[in-house]
C-alpha cells in the first residue's frame, strides 16, 4: 500500500519531446516502495515513453528532449553527474517482446553480473537465485548451457525478468510484458509479480484492464500524453472520478 513515506520513484512535471513531437505533457507521479503500479491507457498515450524516461533508455536510439525531472530515492536521474549505467542497474526493465540474447540461458542471466566484472562462484549463485526468483529455475536447471532461443515465449520473458533481477535493481519497469504471451504464461508472470513486490517496486504498463486490476495496488491512466487519474486500483475500477477513466475502463474507447 502506498504510504506517506519517501517515494522510491517520483516523476515531477515531466514533458517529453521526440524531436518536435511532444509525447508526454506535464506528467507527475509518485511510486511508493514495494508498490505495484499499473500504467494503463490507449496505444500511443505515452505510457511506454514515460517508463523509458525513468531509466533513460529513451536516449539510446533517438534524439529526445526532456523537461521536468525524475527522482530515484530523492536523487535526480537527469542530474549532471549521473552515471546512466549505474542508474540502469538500479532500475531494471522488461520489454514488450522477450529479447533474450542469442547466448545460453546461463550467459543471459550472468550478462549484467559480468558487466560488473564479477565471475566464478558469485555469478553461479546469483544466476541460480535470479532464476529461482523468476520462477524459472526448475524448468531450466538441467539445461543452463542450452540456447535461450530454445525456450518458449513465456519462459523467455521470465528469463528476461531473471536477467533484470540478477543485478538487484530497486525498481523494475515492465513494458507490456505479457502482450506477446499466451494466458498460461501470462498467469505465471502475474503470480511472479506477487513475489517480486516483496523485494522491489514494480511499474507495469499494460493494455489489459483485468491484469491491471489483478496485479496492482494503484493504477494510473494516461491519455494523449497527460496523466488523467492515479488512484487505488480498487477505487479506480469501481468509482473513478474522471469521465475519461470510466469510459476507458468500461471499454468505450481506446
Amino acid at each position: 500500500m502506498p504510504t506517506a513515506a519517501t517515494p522510491v520513484l517520483e516523476i515531477r512535471a515531466l514533458s517529453f519531446y521526440y524531436g518536435k513531437t511532444r509525447a508526454i505533457e506535464d506528467v507527475s507521479l509518485q511510486v511508493a516502495p514495494h508498490e505495484v503500479l499499473a500504467l494503463i491507457g490507449p496505444s500511443g498515450c505515452g505510457k511506454s515513453t514515460l517508463i523509458k524516461a525513468v531509466n533513460r533508455i529513451c536516449e539510446v536510439a533517438t534524439e529526445v528532449r526532456i523537461e521536468g525531472d525524475v527522482l530515484l530515492n530523492g536523487e535526480s536521474v537527469y542530474g549532471k553527474d549521473v552515471d546512466v549505467t549505474a542508474l540502469r542497474r538500479r532500475v531494471g526493465m522488461v520489454f514488450q517482446k522477450p529479447n533474450p540474447f542469442p547466448k545460453s540461458i546461463y550467459d543471459n542471466v550472468a550478462f549484467g553480473l559480468r558487466l560488473l566484472g564479477l565471475g566464478g562462484r558469485e555469478v553461479n549463485e546469483r544466476v541460480e537465485a535470479s532464476l529461482r526468483a523468476a520462477a524459472l529455475w526448475d524448468e531450466v536447471k538441467d539445461r543452463l548451457t542450452h540456447s535461450a532461443m530454445s525456450l518458449s515465449g513465456g519462459q523467455q520473458q521470465r528469463l528476461c525478468i531473471a536477467r533484470a533481477l540478477a543485478v538487484e535493481p530497486e525498481v523494475i519497469l515492465m513494458d507490456e510484458p505479457c502482450s506477446a504471451l499466451d494466458p498460461i504464461a501470462t498467469q505465471k508472470i502475474e503470480d511472479l509479480l506477487e513475489e517480486l513486490r516483496r523485494r522491489l517496486t514494480v511499474v507495469i504498463v499494460t493494455h489489459n484492464m483485468q491484469q491491471a486490476a489483478r496485479v496492482s495496488d494503484r493504477t494510473a491512466l494516461m491519455w494523449l500524453g497527460r496523466m488523467v487519474e492515479v488512484d487505488q486500483t480498487k477505487k479506480m475500477f469501481t468509482a473513478p472520478t474522471q469521465k475519461i477513466t470510466e469510459d476507458y475502463i468500461n471499454g468505450r474507447f481506446g
Partner: protein
Amino acid sequence: MDRSLHAGPTHRLGRTVRDPWGALFVGLCRGATAAVAVVLLWVFGEIARRGAPRVSWEFLTGTPTAGMTEGGIFPAVFGTLAVTSLMILIALPAGVFAAIYLVEYAGQGRMARLIRAGVANLAGVPSIVFGLFGVGFFVLFVGRNIDKVLGTGLLFGQPAILWATATLSCLVLPVVIVATEEALRAVPQSHREGAYALGATKWQVVSRVVLPQARGGILTGAILAISRGAGETAPILFTGCAYYLPRLPVTKLFGVIPMVNPFDQFMNLSYHIFIMATQSTNTVATQPIQYATTLVLLGLTFAMNLAAILLRSRFRRQVRQGR
C-alpha cells in the same frame, strides 16, 4: 442442420487453375538460372579440361623456365598467397573498425552520411584507378618521402609487396565495410536495448552483444574481399608485382625468423596469366600453362573462401545454439 447454406462443392479440388502469366514468369526464372549454370559449367569445364593435364606437383612447386614456356609457377602461387593474406590482414580490421564506427557511433550527421556515400562509391571505382592511385600515392608520394626523411635511399620509394598490399587493401576496403555495416544493422535493436537496460556501456553493447552476432556477416565480407583481391591484376601492376622473379620474396627477420620481405617484388598468378597471354614471346606455346595457372588460381581462391565459409557456418551455429 440447415443444408441450404452448404449445397455442395462449387469447385473441385485438384483441378489446376490456369495462370499463363505465372507460368511464363516461372519459366523465365528457370531459363535465367539455367543460362547462368550453363555458362558457369562451360567456363569451369573448359579451364579444368585444358588446364588439369598440365597441373602436377612439379608444376606447383617449380619455377618458370625456358622463357616461361616451361617449368612451374610456385613463385606466383607464393606471391598470390602472401599478398592476399597480408591484404586481408590489413583490410579486415580496418574495414570492420570503420564500419563499427559508422553504424554504432557516427550517427546520422551530414559528415557520416557523406562518408557512407563515399564508401559506397569507392566500391564502384575501376581497379586500374586504384593501381594508378597506388603508384602515385603510395610508391611515389608516401614511399619517396619516407626515404627522404629516413635517408634510406630507394628502399620505400619503389614498387614492393608493401605497396601492392596497401593498394589491394584500399580496393577491398569498401567491400569489407559494406558487408560489416549490413551485418551490424542486422542485429536487432531490441538486443542492444536489453543490454543497455542492464547497465552496459556503449562499448560493452558493441563488443558483447552486437559483434558476436555479426561475426558471420563480417566473414562474408572477408570472403568477398578475398575473392575480389586474389584475382586482381590492375592494382598490383605498377605497385609491386614482377614479370619474372624465380626466387621467393622472403627474408629473415633479425637474420633468423623467415618472413615475407615487404620491400621485395613478387610474382602473382593473375599477372602471370596476363603476361603469358599477351606479353610472352610465344603465346601459343604457353597456352597449356595459362589454363593450368588459371585452374590453380581458381582453386586457391576457392580454398581460401572455403576456410572462411567453414568458419562462418561455425559462427552461425554458435549464434543459433546460443553459445
